[in-house]
Amino acid sequence: MERITGAEVRSASCGEKPEVIPVESLQFGEEIQRLMTPENGSSFTALLELPANQAMELLHSPEAQPVEDWTCHCRPYHPDSLNCTPIFPSDASLLERASMFSVFATADNSPESSSIPPNSSSNPQKVKAEPLDLDSKPDSSKPHAQNSNQKSKKRKEREKKGNGNGSAKMSKRCVGNETSVADEKLPYVHVRARRGQATDSHSLAERARREKINARMKLLQELVPGCNKISGTAMVLDEIINHVHCLQQQVEFLSMRLAAVNPIIDFNLDSLLAPESGCTTDSSHPGMGMPLMWPEGQFNGNRQQYQQLHHFDGFHQPVWGREQNASYLNSENSLLSYDSSTNSDSPNVLISFLEEKLRK
């Protein structure tokens, strides 16, 4: 009610501004300072921490307030002074009023977006942005129940506009002071936006999305070896692409090697697969918890058994050598029968397989 009317009044006063843009006159300054009071006050509020209800009383006072008070106090007016806390108007009443305004602003989440002293810049974009903000904020503040988001957004905007003015460092420091005093728990994201960028929710959402993407890029950096030292998204992406391509090539080469080795190894693989499928009673290797190790352990055991059988029967070897060339049918039959006997332990399976081979 009162708040809305106050906002409307302010927006009305802002509505005049685009026409007055090029004139950096006293009048313009007054209008702007009236707008600026919330932002001024926010810094004051941080220090004074006045309750919000007092803001309601003083809502109408600024209109009744003589303008010259502001002008005389704010004439040594440069962006830094208004953005930074150290310089205060000496008048106590002004102080109070300013603080009330700020309290009102922060409590209501209403426009404190005009964080920049816009009179320093005759940038039409910014001036237009303010009325937009002023108009949009009263509407958006109610639906957005997230105070913290609003506040962080405003802080981002403030920072943006501070950068735009060129007093980047000062504004950032002041913003930091404000946040440290006012809201310690906010997930404060330092975002540096270019001058004149829109402050609407779209760009903010984009920025949030970009932060998510940057977090994922950091994860990827950790995955890819040697990426931690590289800075810059492009180089990191290059490294990632390189790594993926290298891994795919490695898989290709390994499969080629396997294909080349393949005709010889089917025997071993069959015996390897048998214990794996019926392996609960297998005790020859410590455990299946290390699958990368178990093939080697198992194969070593098998190899020993092969050697023992070699001692027994010399013509096992020619049997194995013949297998590749001629006895496909035989081997297939043996494999089929071998499959049926896969439930037993590995040495038994091996022996049974060899016996079948010997029979044929």
């Binding site: 990827l220 992406l237 891994l247 795919q248 393949n262 010889i264 693989l269 390897l272 918890g289 496909y328």
Partner: protein, 170 residues
Amino acid sequence: MKPTSSIRTRFAYGFLRAMKRLRNRRRPAASSSSSSSSAARAAFGRYRKLKMVADASMASAVGSRRAWSRALLWKITRRQALVRRALAGKRRRSGGDDSGIRRSVVVENEGTQDHHHNQSGVAQTDILRRLVPGGESMDLYSLLGETAHYIKCLTIQVKVMKNIVDFCST
């Protein structure tokens, strides 16, 4: 039966089983060819099949939880269907091999460029999309996530296959 079924174990088992099946299927068909020229072709055919088997077993080990594994499995089944259809058609016409199909399939995959220099002309995200299976229709955020999982699974695959090769070649 299997202890802790991680991606590694599932992949190892599946891959070895698939290799065995591959060899069993291959044996009766390969009995006819014995000349040296066809040996190379046979080796190449084995290599292609083995690579497909490796990818398929990797994707099956991951399951359908990940977009890239789903895309990979779909690609492989589609390719298999094509190959089978072409094989059936060619067998009807003549007893020739299906190397034509495979060559076209190979050509498909040669689109990747040299990645050792900064890709400024072609967008890097496009290259990444081409590399990661199923990356064409994903937004950047999920693409990065899929890339991370894909890298992890590729390293597992390489380790397991290296172990198998090392064992078999000794």
